[in-house]
């Protein structure tokens, strides 16, 4: 299935893009999709997405469509979903 990932903030700057596509097996969870994205990139991106245990960073706000997902391990994605990863920002 195809999933679009939208990224913001410093994550977007590090990736040098605001959007990328992932080709994932059916039933992939949000956590697995983010881990797959981390695997496709270097250590810097990985540390922005995952903590030392490999879990999704709690400081990220993650949404599928327009709804926040608070447990990325429990939410399965569907073909055509848009996964948004909001990297925390605090600029004033």
């Amino acid at each position: 299935m195809q999933v679009t990932v939208r990224c913001s903030g410093q994550l977007r700057a590090a990736l040098e893009t605001s959007s990328l596509g992932l080709d994932l097996p059916a039933g992939t969870t949000v956590a697995e999709a983010i881990a797959a994205m981390a695997d496709d990139h270097g250590a810097r991106i990985r540390s922005m997405l995952l903590d030392d245990s490999g879990a999704v960073q709690r400081t990220l706000v993650v949404a599928v469509g327009s709804a926040q997902v608070t447990d990325p391990t429990a939410h399965s994605l569907a073909d055509g979903d848009t996964l948004t990863v909001l990297h925390p920002i605090s600029g004033g």
Partner: protein, 247 residues
């Protein structure tokens, strides 16, 4: 509640035409106090718009002196005030716009030590701090004192806004339970971006105070001025949030 004077009716006539706001909304603004934490690129514009709209009292918290690198976005700071306290520059500029305004100018940034006292001085806080440690301190105190807080932030050409009403909406700690490790105080910023977000945050504060419109309660707006996209996400409270779960 103090009534409007004839002068105030004349100044605010055009915004009182707004459906759902009216003279009652204007009276609420006049009798309201707002804490603006840091008057930088974002907070300067928040304070300016709240002063223009007729909020009665602003509590401004911002340490330091005006530096050249402030002047691309911190619209309450002026070249003539370089090297002098930022918060005094802010006070002078705001009073030029609205001499009826009551301003409490505090030459400190928000910290764990002063957050309780600063939040206590206002009905609502607009959080424009560049550091999560300051934001978390204000969030904790806003929840503890059951006061709303508009959380607005920007980075490069992007911004986010949400309004926290303790007990009803997620708080900042629900969204970010700990300090994000990658965030640094210095970040790319155009004044046109921080100003855009500042206007939106000021409007959130006005809506909450006056009780009209549809504030971003339990929702986060994400704005990207690079492609002019505006998206809104429905947020959820963290039932185990150490800050607001019992609120």
């Amino acid at each position: 509640m103090h009534p409007l004077t004839d002068e105030e009716r004349a100044v605010y006539e055009w915004q009182m035409w707004s459906p759902g706001f009216g003279e009652d909304g204007q009276r609420r603004l006049k009798n309201a106090s707002v804490l603006v934490s840091r008057c930088g690129g974002l907070g300067s514009v928040v304070a300016y718009e709240l002063a223009a709209a007729g909020v009665g009292r602003l509590v401004l918290a911002h340490a330091g002196v005006v530096k050249p690198s402030d002047l691309n976005r911190q619209l309450l700071m002026t070249h003539a005030w370089l090297g002098r306290p930022r918060v005094e520059s802010a006070r002078r500029r705001l009073l030029e716009l609205n001499p009826r305004l009551d301003i409490v100018a505090v030459q400190e940034n928000v910290s764990e030590e002063n957050a309780a006292g600063l939040v206590a001085q206002a009905d609502l806080t607009v959080d424009c701090a560049p550091l999560f440690s300051e934001r978390f301190a204000m969030n904790r105190q806003s929840v503890a004192q059951a006061k709303p807080i508009v959380e607005c932030a920007m980075y490069d050409l992007e911004a986010t806004i949400t309004t926290v009403v303790p007990g009803r909406t997620p708080c900042l700690a629900c969204l970010h339970p700990s300090e994000p490790p990658q965030w640094k105080r210095e970040f790319p910023v155009f004044g046109a971006v921080s100003g855009t977000v500042g206007c939106m945050a000021a409007m959130e504060a006005i809506k909450v105070i006056a009780g009209f419109g549809d504030p971003l309660l339990g929702r986060m707006a994400q704005i990207d001025l690079r492609d002019m996209s505006f998206r809104t996400f429905d947020l959820q409270r963290d039932e185990s949030c150490p800050v607001c779960a019992s609120a």
